[in-house]
């Protein structure tokens, strides 16, 4: 009965257990597993047939792609230039050419078999020389075949293609809409004729895209002009435009660009604004700050909040100063001295907050005005 459970353990554990038992000279119940050794077998006279190993191509012999150069057990030879190795260490040619058996100074203990692309070039190629490469591709001269091959898509591309097209269509539509928007908006800031307006709108679309992409306004303007000029010089290169007319077109563009840049800017939220001089900017900023400071003592309500927000969202402030101003003038809770606890229970508001210094929850009672709720 007891033997049974021991036999269920793995034989290795049982073996260890038994040896431990033997040493301890305690009574041992020997376990015998149900094994019977098989009859002995003849071990001599074993030999396999020849595996037909050995070199299949000699030095300087001409080979085609994929021809086997040597069959071997282990890497008696290593694959050199333009030769590959299989999982049974068979070396084969990767390019057509002439077989070379050679030594490489970087692996002094190895022998290599490679394929030279020329009859006379020895291997290995000197270490710092450019590699000798065969192009090996065949041009499709038949126009039908060529166009079919050009249109052929990989499976991945084929699956993605409709989406790519639709995305492109959407993007183009967005660009057109943007251009239309600028065509409508720009006359407010700058006087432009019909053709000039088209150019200006296109410029603004490009500038906005670049600014949104992370460039500064100056860089965006510069690269927009640069792209225009570059495209024009390419037109000249193609012969579609004469050099002289290209110059005049460029000059016209520069004129429009200067006019436009002097009139409009994009603020930090990419909103189209009138360009201000430094003095004007300073004056506006001071004016708004004064207005904001005037609101500081008045308790907030929804109307006032909207008014302050509209004041802050002005082109004269950049993103970080807008955040600072919001923190200062649009506090969710007014600073402590304003709206101290009132006895009137109807207008009282209670909040709980965590006191980090003392590690406990504080209950704060304030007037509702302090929260801008009325």
């Amino acid at each position: 009965m007891q033997l049974y459970s021991i036999a269920q353990l793995t034989p290795r554990v049982v073996g260890r257990a038994c040896s431990a038992l033997l040493r301890n000279t305690l009574q041992v119940n020997q376990v015998r597993t149900a094994t019977k050794k098989a009859a002995g077998s003849k071990t001599h006279m074993q030999d396999s047939k020849g595996r037909r190993l050995g070199p299949k191509k000699q030095n300087n012999e001409r080979v085609k792609v994929g021809q086997i150069l040597i069959r071997q057990r282990g890497t008696k030879f290593y694959p050199g230039e333009n030769a590959g190795i299989g999982k049974d260490h068979t070396i084969f040619a990767l390019e057509p050419g002439w077989v070379r058996y050679y030594l490489d100074p970087f692996h002094p203990k190895r022998k290599f078999i490679g394929v030279s692309l020329d009859r006379d070039t020895p291997l290995p190629t000197p270490h710092f020389e450019p590699r000798r490469r065969r192009f090996g591709c065949v041009e499709l001269t038949d126009s039908w075949q060529a166009s079919r091959e050009e249109e052929r898509m990989s499976r991945k591309e084929y699956i993605a293609f409709p989406e790519i097209l639709s995305e492109k269509a959407k993007r183009d539509a967005r660009r057109i809409a943007k251009a239309d928007f600028y065509k409508k908006a720009l006359p407010e800031f700058v006087e432009l004729s019909g053709e000039e307006l088209d150019i200006a709108a296109a410029r603004m679309v490009s500038v906005e895209a670049m600014v949104r992409g992370g460039k500064s306004l100056e860089d965006a303007r510069f690269y927009t002009s640069y792209n225009y000029g570059y495209d024009k010089s390419l037109e000249v290169q193609r012969g579609e435009l004469s050099a002289a007319s290209a110059e005049s077109v460029k000059a016209q563009y520069t004129e429009i660009a200067e006019k436009l840049d002097a009139a409009v800017v994009l603020d930090c939220r990419f909103k189209l604004c009138k360009s201000l001089t430094e003095a004007e900017t300073e004056a506006t900023r001071n004016d708004i700050l004064a207005q904001l400071k005037a609101t500081e003592q008045t308790p907030l309500n929804a109307e006032l909040k909207a008014h302050i927000a509209s004041l802050i969202d002005n082109q004269v402030f950049d993103l970080s100063s807008r955040v600072k101003l919001r923190r200062r003038f649009l506090k969710p809770v007014a600073s402590e001295p304003v709206g101290i606890v009132q006895d009137d229970k109807k207008t009282r508001a209670v909040i709980q907050r965590w006191n980090y210094k003392e590690n406990k929850v504080e209950v704060i009672q304030r007037s509702q005005e302090a929260f801008g709720v009325n």
């Binding site: 040493r23 890497t75 290593y78 694959p79 299989g86 999982k87 049974d88 260490h89």
Partner: protein, 293 residues
């Protein structure tokens, strides 16, 4: 090469037949670990507190080391200074004379009359004043063959005394008559360096050795000839380590230990001089090594 199992047939054809390191064309050493975006914290140096390997080490004053540096070292240099002393050449391996081509790559012969070469002993100067290198505490428990649980107790005792994580020691030889098999865990050891070693030595000299009634001193004959001194403590002596003494109930079973003090001294004589300065007593006659200067 191990074949790997997979359902895909292409994986078999992708199996590489050989590995080849291609020679590069530049001299910039590329450390792949730094190029990989994985495990950024493992790229930090271990001295960087943001690295998981960082250990704040300098936390206490090391009185023993200070004593050695402030008091002992200059005395040791002056005691052992002999004017005009020449280096005592050690026995070196004998090279072949290459009269035969078969001498190439043949290992050199051992020194005459010895199996291993001996070091050259340089005269005392300000550059080779001895110091403590490390202390190895080693417990070999013969009963581990019959009771392998003892290994845990030994390790724990060493860890409690030294405060350093012990390593296991294994039987080196096969002695079936003692039930000893090669590779069986037979105890533990710790290697102490720096402050741990100093702490251990001062506990030993201040608390443990003075209370052992039978202890007269370390034998002047114990040593490795070249600057390493060792001695042993019996299980009953180990009791006096404060970690054991004040918690005797938990330590019903105690284990003896061998203590080996490695010094940078060139000879045992110098090592003993150094250790006597730390309060370790020595007894017996000292043998002077034969040196040919």
């Amino acid at each position: 090469m191990l074949g790997y199992r997979s359902f895909s047939t292409s994986s078999v054809s992708l199996k590489v037949g050989c590995a080849m390191v291609k020679p590069v064309h530049h001299r910039v050493k590329v450390i792949k670990k730094l190029l990989s975006p994985r495990f950024p914290e493992l790229k930090l140096s271990p001295t960087d507190p943001r690295s998981p390997k960082f250990r704040p080490e300098i936390t206490h004053q090391d009185r023993v080391q200070e004593h050695i540096h402030n008091t002992l070292r200059s005395d040791l240099m002056l005691i052992n200074y002999i004017h005009g002393e020449k280096p005592a050449e050690g026995l070196k391996r004998r090279q072949w004379d290459f009269t035969s081509p078969y001498h190439i790559n043949r290992p050199a012969r051992p020194p005459k009359g010895e199996k291993v070469p001996t070091p050259t002993i340089m005269p005392q100067s300000w550059k080779n004043v001895p110091g403590i290198e490390k202390v190895v505490v080693h417990s070999f428990v013969a009963n581990c063959t019959s009771d392998p649980k003892l290994n845990i107790g030994v390790s724990l005792q060493l860890q409690q005394i030294t405060g350093v994580k012990p390593q296991s020691v294994y039987a080196k030889t096969n002695l079936p008559s003692f039930g000893l098999r090669k590779g069986v865990k037979m105890g533990a050891k710790v290697e102490l360096t720096g402050r741990d070693a100093s702490q251990f030595l001062s506990t030993l000299t201040e608390l443990v050795l003075p209370r052992i009634t039978t202890f007269e001193g370390i034998s002047n004959r114990a040593g490795s000839r070249y600057g390493t001194v060792s001695f042993g403590l019996k299980p009953e002596d180990v009791l006096y380590f404060p970690e054991i003494y004040y918690n005797q109930d938990a330590w019903a079973k105690r284990f003896g230990m061998d203590i080996t003090i490695h010094t940078t001294a060139q000879l045992d004589r110098e090592a003993r001089q150094l250790l006597s300065g730390l309060g370790l007593p020595f007894v017996g006659t000292e043998r002077e090594p034969k040196l040919t200067r």
